[in-house]
Symmetry: C2
Subunit: 344 residues, 2 copies
DNA sequence: CTGAAAGCGCTTACAG
DNA sequence: CTGAAAGCGCTTACAG
């Protein structure tokens, strides 16, 4: 069954393709009668404009691309959900690609999206990404780009972030105020900005509260898994028997830690207090419930798309684009794992 | 900066657009010298074929669409990951849409994909989907369609499923063999085929092992959340004090149940045994670890794409398509939550 | 109010 | 081995 075209409708009604096209797009210079006729016919035949032709004519695809490090991940899938929901509202479709934390893949995927001529790109960078020439390609092609969460400060584009440093500072400060004297940190890999920032927040909270900063209390994680939470908790207990607080880079790892501490009979929060990061729903549900930093994934996706959408519109109208960095608020959620001991 | 076109290259080299096009596509009837020249120039200018024009000419977009009920969900995001990975290998990009379990949204999204003229569609149906005329639209448009996991048996297309009934049968049988005398079931909503099938498997396992089927032991869940697991565990303990086993539709709910049983001091597996469904990674990590049915999400995504890809190729070659239903094996994973009591 | 014509950037059957 | 020409299905500036 060949799809119906404008030409088909034009022939049936004995009018020109031009008029059919204009009638369907409700141009003011077409008579009401013709419009009605055209619309009825289009309806009856179930006419659908050929998107390929429209794309070619208008040079836009009404499609954007998103590259994230990992799809099976609570935070990123929340962001994805926010993006897709918002995009659909504005008539945009979303192509999803995942870099698996690899620079090489990320680079290749940018090429794929650029070749596809998407109207815009949304990205959160891979841990393996150390230089950013591949992002320059996006900028050179004048494709609007918005980075979120795992960003590169040097890249000239709009960004949506949280203040990782401040959030980590608050988490650590909260541990101090709950009475912790020796606070460890399970941090992410060395490269990504957010694990650097969280580490810096941790460190400055210690120093500003007159506490020692001891590098041996900082453990560098790799894949940020539950298993790493278990493993490094064991290490921590071996290395520092008197540790009484941990600030952990992400909830999944923190839940691994809780599970290990529970197993070893270390009482949380009495022996050791824990604060995680991300507010994964499991953290409100584990025993003990986990204090954490609420990181608004869905909201971040929504805002990132909105920024991108605005840039796409501006580009179309040839208005010069000014880049914006939106910082979303985070929130320290205090639960059982970090409450101060009751005074006996 | 205007993108480079074939015409640009042709003009620079003083040859025709035809020859440039053929040279780049390595047609045999172009001289080696011309090919080399064209390629070098294309390389230097960073030529990228205009995908819109190629789409229009070839009537294919090298893009497929996927509609799933929910992105933020371990099983579906695993499927999505499998699809995206496999599609990328074959040069296809994936548009992601989510129905939020709503028939209306699902219908609208099918229209979006059809209007976009994707080369194929992959779907897992919403719980709210009761009739399937919207799927007929896909078939009428002759767009290849593969359903996975939440399918409709009556729809004429390829499918990737697990044998929910058999898996549920095995889960329940395992509870019986572990010594349970009174086994409850937390099932999913009434409509989706997979919650029906799992219920039927539960029921037939009981009957075939000479046990009573008592409808009051079957609880119908709605959103299959952790909270529902907590809630219905409370109900269950109120209604049936002597229950000693539960087969639960999905791990998240089962983990809610475990958490509530733990809280009430009901010993798992000694007082009550539990088997879940899906093998979410948390189930291997909770205390006690949860027995469950391993449901291969990533694999399902891979297979679904492969089927779709084959149909896309066949359609292109005008080979008539025969629909296939692939049933992926599941696996009962026995952990602490269901082991038989030791004989004292 | 209507329509002929050009053009978006490719691909490919055909001629030479 | 090379190229002129047609055509994919639209949109839109322009003429009448």
């Amino acid at each position: 069954m060949k799809p119906i075209t404008l030409k088909d409708i034009a022939e049936i009604l004995g009018i020109s393709v031009t008029t059919v096209s204009k009638a369907l797009k409700d141009y003011p210079d077409v008579s009401k009668k013709t419009k009605r006729l055209v619309r009825e016919t289009a309806e009856t035949l179930n006419y659908k404009p050929n998107a390929f032709a429209v794309n070619l004519r208008t040079s836009e695809s009404k499609t954007i691309g998103i590259i994230i490090p990992e799809v099976v991940h609570h935070f990123f899938s929340s962001v994805l959900k926010g993006i897709v929901a918002q995009a659909e509202k504005k008539g945009y479709l979303v192509i999803i690609l995942q870099s698996n934390e690899s620079y090489e893949l990320e680079k290749k995927q940018i090429d794929l999206l650029l070749n596809k001529r998407v109207d815009g790109i949304l990205m959160s960078l891979a841990n393996g990404t150390i230089h950013f020439d591949h992002l320059d390609e996006i900028l050179i092609s004048e494709t609007p780009l918005v980075l979120f969460d795992k960003i590169a400060k040097v890249v000239q584009c709009s960004k949506v972030i949280i203040n990782d440093r401040k959030a980590a500072y608050n988490a650590t400060k909260h541990l101090i105020e709950s009475g912790c004297k020796k606070i460890a940190h399970f941090r992410g890999p060395l490269l990504p900005q957010n694990s650097i920032d969280r580490f810096l927040g941790y460190k400055s909270a210690l120093l500003e509260h007159g506490m020692n900063y001891d590098p041996s209390l900082v453990y560098i994680l790799n894949d940020m898994s539950f298993e790493e939470g278990v493993h490094f908790s064991k290490e921590l207990l071996k290395d520092h028997k008197d540790v009484d607080g941990v600030f952990i880079n992400t909830d999944l790892v923190a839940i691994g830690a809780i599970s290990e501490f529970n197993k070893q009979g270390i009482a949380i929060p009495n022996d050791i207090k824990i604060v995680g990061f991300s507010n994964w729903f499991m953290s409100s549900v584990i025993t003990p419930t986990l204090s954490t930093i609420d990181q608004p994934g869905y909201e971040m996706g929504k805002v990132a798309f909105k920024l991108l959408y605005k840039e796409i519109k501006q580009k179309k109208k040839k208005i010069p684009v000014t880049f914006k960095t939106v910082e979303l608020p985070t929130n320290l959620v205090i639960r059982e794992s970090s409450i101060a001991e009751k005074i006996n």
